[in-house]
Symmetry: C2
Subunit: 176 residues, 2 copies
DNA sequence: GTTAGTGCAAACCTTTTGCAGCTCT
DNA sequence: AGAGCTGCAAAAGGTTTGCACTAAC
């Protein structure tokens, strides 16, 4: 199903340029979840002439080639995308919405989920991602305090991305 | 943990305006996964003066209030977000990258996954989403043909988001 | 009447595109 | 040599912000 399932990227005409080596090294070595801008900043240290556009083009190529995966991390910090080397094992990303820490969860349910979706729909899965947002053990305590404080200074409410208790849409409609 | 776990949105000063009624109705009634732009287009039919910005502000409020969930649907068609009324039951979104059809998968693995993440990390989950991209049963056949055709007209390769066989990053580095 | 919400225009941020020149093979 | 890749500038796409006016309660 691939373009050339026996061929290499090189056979498809992909060249290994100096810029690509730098970017590949960075993605590989840091192991972190970098977004295009950070990757660009880091790459510029090694080659000040390297352009932001090249970063985007390289990431796009790597994504299309299945070498990296693109994440959103629940947009905990804007709408940019994050990238990581594709691992053999599926995993979910667990993002703390307060401190931004990202945990990775490997486990059987992910594997079962994939199997079930494939068989249930006869679907051919190419990509999948599970992202979870909330508060990490450490931030839960801190968060409680912040909310308490906010109660005393209502102006802060708008700024805080405070979660309101779940209620159905219709419940809101009934407000009127 | 919520701002006001006993209170209503209204008690927080949220007003039910004509514009909001229109938008809430649309999200609720269509049941589809609409993005801001489509929602705006539909809303304009009911109130031609309604502004795009109001759509964004309303969606943001509903999201913060936990009334709707934001999806990416694997960006199968750009970088916009899609919205759906938050359901009681978790589900994964299965998106065909060729025809764009979106299936919803409900199942035990999702529930187990959530439980395990909570207990494993002591994490408090507020949001979570699982999105899967690939080819639906119907498109798998069509896709195979397209790839076959592409092989004959190499220029088409760049345009086609063709998947290249998985290989490690290092394999690419070794190209040089 | 007060405060929240709206519309408009303009800004913003992230990502993409067009094109001339450069470089890998 | 020649296709592929880069840098630069400019545009695009999606979303947010500032501000004066309007409407909900």
């Amino acid at each position: 199903m691939a373009l050339d399932s026996q061929g290499s990227l090189r056979e498809q005409g992909v060249r290994l340029t100096r810029q690509r080596q730098i970017l590949l090294d960075l993605i590989d070595q840091t192991g972190a979840h970098l977004d295009a801008e950070r990757l660009y900043q880091m790459a510029k240290e090694r080659d000040p002439k390297l352009n932001r556009v090249t970063v985007y083009r390289t990431l796009k190529m790597l994504k299309a080639g299945g070498l990296v995966d693109e994440l959103d991390l629940m947009h905990y910090s804007g709408d940019q995308h994050y990238y990581e080397t594709r691992l053999k094992q599926e995993h979910a990303h667990v993002v703390c919405l307060r401190c931004g820490k990202v945990e990775e969860f490997f486990g059987e349910p992910l594997h079962k989920l994939r199997k079930q979706i494939e068989s249930h729909f006869g679907f051919q899965i190419l990509l999948s991602r599970t992202e979870v947002g909330g508060y990490c053990a450490h931030c839960q305590t801190l968060r409680a305090r912040e909310v308490e404080d906010a109660r005393r200074t209502p102006e802060a409410l708008k700024r805080a991305a405070v979660r309101v208790p779940r209620k159905s849409r219709r419940a809101l409609a009934r407000l009127g």
